[in-house]
Symmetry: C2
Subunit: 342 residues, 2 copies
């Protein structure tokens, strides 16, 4: 695949093309992922998440600038919240206005979900690896941290920065409590606004209560720092950058980085299995002989949706399930497919 | 099941218990869903969604009050954005402070996701039906419309109200474009704030451009109204209520309501099939003989996650797939399980 060669050489157009193929779930994307995979695992990955209006894009621009200054090539994956509906056209437009947009050592791309929920996560992981393989040694994943699917993409980040902002009201409080659990570093952005100091105190208290001032996903010895920033004027950005890099060093020195990588790859395989099997089951159900009749029963409220689904799933899995029972009983893996009688 | 009898009699404690069983995915929940299903399909369902800080809870309180005044019994399902992490404790606390909380004909419940993404949607549908079966003839589903999984629960609403608010910045613009596509009615809340009128104009323009001023999911003849509200003072709430009821009448009179019900039940069955099969496949993979070895290959970057997943899925489905091919070829449904050779 000539595209792979060019991508590995750092050709931007090849990279853009590869990302498009991945996003469109083109059949060639799987082949591409396979070919680049051995050339990945080198990039330092960061995630930036937080509620809408927290100023994440500006903050990511600032971080990009600082990583560039230390000689790194920076890839940015902006996961687009408009995706389920508009295909991401709007954030896509905004990307052209970004600070690093003209720098050949910066590659910014927005990523839209097309349809199914699992797609977002699988695409993000693949795109991070394409950037990695193309020689972008620092990859920043940016997402709106208000939805579960959107927060899940943070799994691809070694270091997750959660961005908070003063004065967003009650509901954001609730979201805050949620995303704190994935934070390795917290940025209180727009820190020139009223309420910034009390927000910092509140966050530190929440971290303490949640046992997250020490510990959490980064292991026992990591204290989650809360850094004040004003991304629009670069205020506090050097501190944020330093805190993120300290977290990376902490992971590397404790051996947690390797453990995290293995764990996350396993989780990715598991997630892909769920998605792939789910897709196949859906396609099967909709062409199965029992489909129309079952739906008619449901529409008439004679059978509830769960029972309908259970029945169709049981049919779909009749054979695979017996194979699984054997595997759980300790039979060799070969028997699972061999045992299907085909 | 005595619980079912009590629930159908409108017993609040039985209802609360039933919801808890559903939320915890207790094995009895499936039986419960089956028993109540024939008694559902009567409630008028509304969805209220919008970005964090739009004032959705206050607006839902206001709507609850207006539905109560017209003699309806109101159930509220607040889908909790903190759910993936905190189990929803925070919005749960806020529910006790709500306006209708002491009214025996109002039932408010927050709903958390526990773990997997599909859960949110399946729980919401089930809880709406439990409320319906218990005689709450109006059910309002409230959710933060920033995430795909969260917006998806709007599928259970006959009428979806999208709440917007002036001055939330750029990113909210993007989200706005997304959730507009699911709006049947738009509320511009906090309309006493600066920028409300220009937001109304902008929304009307976006609706026009998107072909949503007429048409969209409600069929050709529906014009999505944009209503200004100040939920904290009940200003504009009567108009919003009237607009929502007009939409319901429109659906009923055009026959779209029945078509929507059938379509949504089919989508629910499909979604459940995906989730259930996905769960089973994951459980199988993690106990399969090939699991550890495959993961070791992935960790060593000798096999990419997608190839690993494809391989394991192919093993899992070896038999079911051949069954599916037969079904697609027109064989009777009975042959699918019969063809498994077990």
């Amino acid at each position: 695949m000539e595209l792979v060669e060019r991508l590995l050489d750092g050709d931007r157009r090849a990279l853009a093309r590869a990302i498009t193929l991945t996003e469109n779930e083109d059949p060639r994307a799987a082949e591409l992922a396979r070919a680049v995979f051995p050339h990945t695992g080198r990039a330092r990955t960061l995630g930036v998440t937080g509620p809408p209006g927290a100023g994440k894009s500006t903050l990511v621009d600032g971080l990009t600038h600082l990583y560039r200054r230390s000689g790194r090539r920076v890839g940015v994956v902006a996961v687009d919240p408009t995706s389920p509906f508009t295909g991401g056209a709007i954030l896509g437009d905004r990307i052209r206005m970004r600070r690093g947009a003209a720098d050949p050592d910066v590659f910014i791309r927005s990523l839209a979900t097309r349809g199914h929920l699992g797609g977002l996560s699988w695409h993000t992981g693949s795109v991070v690896r394409l950037l990695d393989a193309a020689g972008f040694d620092t990859v920043i994943i940016e997402t709106v941290g208000a939805g579960q699917a959107e927060v899940e993409v943070m799994r691809y980040a070694e270091t997750t920065i959660v961005v908070m902002v003063p004065g967003l009201g009650d509901e954001v409080q609730a979201i805050k409590a949620g995303i704190l659990e994935i934070a390795d570093v917290i940025a209180v952005n727009k820190a020139d606004r009223e309420g910034a100091d009390s927000l910092v105190r509140e966050l530190e208290m929440m971290l303490e209560l949640g046992g997250r001032s020490r510990g959490g996903r980064s292991g026992e010895a990591w204290t989650v720092p809360v850094v004040k920033t004003v991304a629009t004027t670069d205020e506090g950005m050097e501190d944020l950058f330093a805190a993120a890099e300290r977290h990376r060093e902490h992971l590397a020195s404790t051996g947690e980085l390797e453990a995290w990588r293995t764990r996350e790859l396993a989780a990715e395989v598991t997630g892909l299995i769920r998605d792939l099997v789910g897709q196949k089951a859906q396609a099967w159900a909709e062409t199965a002989g029992a489909w129309e009749e079952t739906l008619a029963q449901v529409a008439a409220r004679r059978m509830d949706p769960r029972t309908a689904a259970d029945t169709l799933v049981a049919e779909f899995l009749a054979c695979a399930r017996s194979g699984s029972a054997e595997a759980a009983g300790g039979g060799p893996a070969g028997e699972i497919s061999g045992g299907s009688g085909r």
